[in-house]
């Protein structure tokens, strides 16, 4: 049973606009003023950081801009522990010992610390200091390359930015 009335008008962009407008206005269940205003304000606030080209997010408002570009290359910052020894390992890369909260937190802190370092030249790693107790050396490193090469062949460029310990 098809309840569709086809008038024969060809599809066009201006027509689409009129169609949306008239269909919404004639809909008896269109949300109340408060509901419509909330939805409108939600997206205005959610989209503001995107329009301002900022990484900031006004929680709980969100733009839903996810995976919008194909990653061709990558740059990641990490801490390399015990470089050159048998116990060489990274804080984030291939570290399966981290729980969800630690991974999120360290990733975020490290990114912030690197931005601050690039702006002021001062590297503030105070939140990490308790991680340095049981290791011989600590270096802040930049890992870059092609995402496919990295995942398929573990090929990447490693650059030591600063030796911390």
């Amino acid at each position: 049973m098809i309840h569709f009335k086809k008038t024969g008008t060809r599809f066009s962009l201006p027509n689409l606009g009129i169609t949306i407008k008239s269909a919404l206005l004639t809909n008896p269940y269109f949300p109340s003023t408060i509901g419509s205003a909330f939805i409108f304000i939600y997206f205005i606030i959610g989209l503001t950081p995107v329009l301002m080209k900022s990484e900031k997010e006004y929680f709980p408002f969100f733009s839903f801009k996810l995976y919008s570009k194909i990653p061709n290359g990558f740059i990641k910052y990490d801490l390399l522990f015990n470089a050159g020894s048998d116990q060489e390992h990274y804080l984030l890369y291939k570290n399966v010992c981290l729980n969800k909260l630690e991974r999120k937190c360290f990733d975020h802190w490290l990114a912030g610390a690197v931005i601050e370092y690039n702006q002021s030249g001062i590297l503030n790693l105070k939140p990490y200091e308790y991680l340095f107790d049981d290791v011989q050396t600590v270096s802040l490193v930049k890992i870059s390359g092609d995402v496919m090469e990295m995942v398929n062949n573990t090929k990447y460029t490693l650059e030591v930015i600063e030796v911390i310990k």
Binding site: A23, T26, F30, P60, S68, P71, K100, C105
Partner: protein, 313 residues
Amino acid sequence: MINEFKLLWLSLSGNYKFPESILSSEMEKAAESKLLISIFYFLVFATSIQTFSPFSQFPEWNTLLASHHLFTPLWSAKWLVYFEWSFAVQSVLLFYFVSSLLSIFLWQKFRLIRICVFLSIFFYLSLISSFGKIDHYLHVMVVVTFLLIFSPDQKRKRASFNKDILKVVFGIQIFILLTYSISGFFKFYGILDQELSGVPSAFSYTSLAKNIAKTNLATNFSTFFSSLILNSNSILFPFLLLLGYLIELLSLFIIIRPHLHRIWGLLLVAFHAFVLMTVGPDFTIQALVVGIFILHSPFSKNPLRRQRDLRNG
């Protein structure tokens, strides 16, 4: 199902008038809406149970208790610092559990219960997002609980009850479908931007594989189809990716096509399943919300109602 695909094609290429059949039997649609909202509140309760499970998508409760030193509160979680940490975390989890449990039976009677459910899930999301990065898989559920605060209380028995509840459900549908359209818009903008910059975009053979590699790198986790897609070049993969983008983008259009809600709900749920099996981000909770409000939309032509209409001539 074939009819619905036919409708999809026709409606994308033709002019539209709001079908009269959609406007009929308001009471029936309101009854369906109430059932859907009850199922939604049950889903909220189910997610609250998950917060106590060590095997769920949420951070484990004992990990939360042991992570006070990592806590960097968002504005909405700053009040937690005034309480003893384990008491604050346990209170947020229990508030979420108790309010969602009560909402299963009492959401129609008391607005206060609906407000409590919204606040509890909002505080829970604030808590788990106060560790660096904000999680996005609960945003739609939080906003839906907020919009449901405005659904009418049954005990007042207003004449406009049916229409009011349908307005709330339609508002929820507009919000959900808009999130997908905006997401789709940014993806197509991304294609344009990358094509104009001369770098590989979603049109390239490796586009899906690169998205998978990005997630793999960030999470150290392989998805169900990751090895298959990472090791083969096929035109099918970018095609599927672009199809997903298109489904997202056109969601806005589906707002005014109630008879397509069911098929579009199915496509969106399938889209989330495809993303989980390939790229990795887990939006299962959002897919379930889409399943409730779009796939089982009270504005679509319900197959059971259709059968009854056919029987009645």
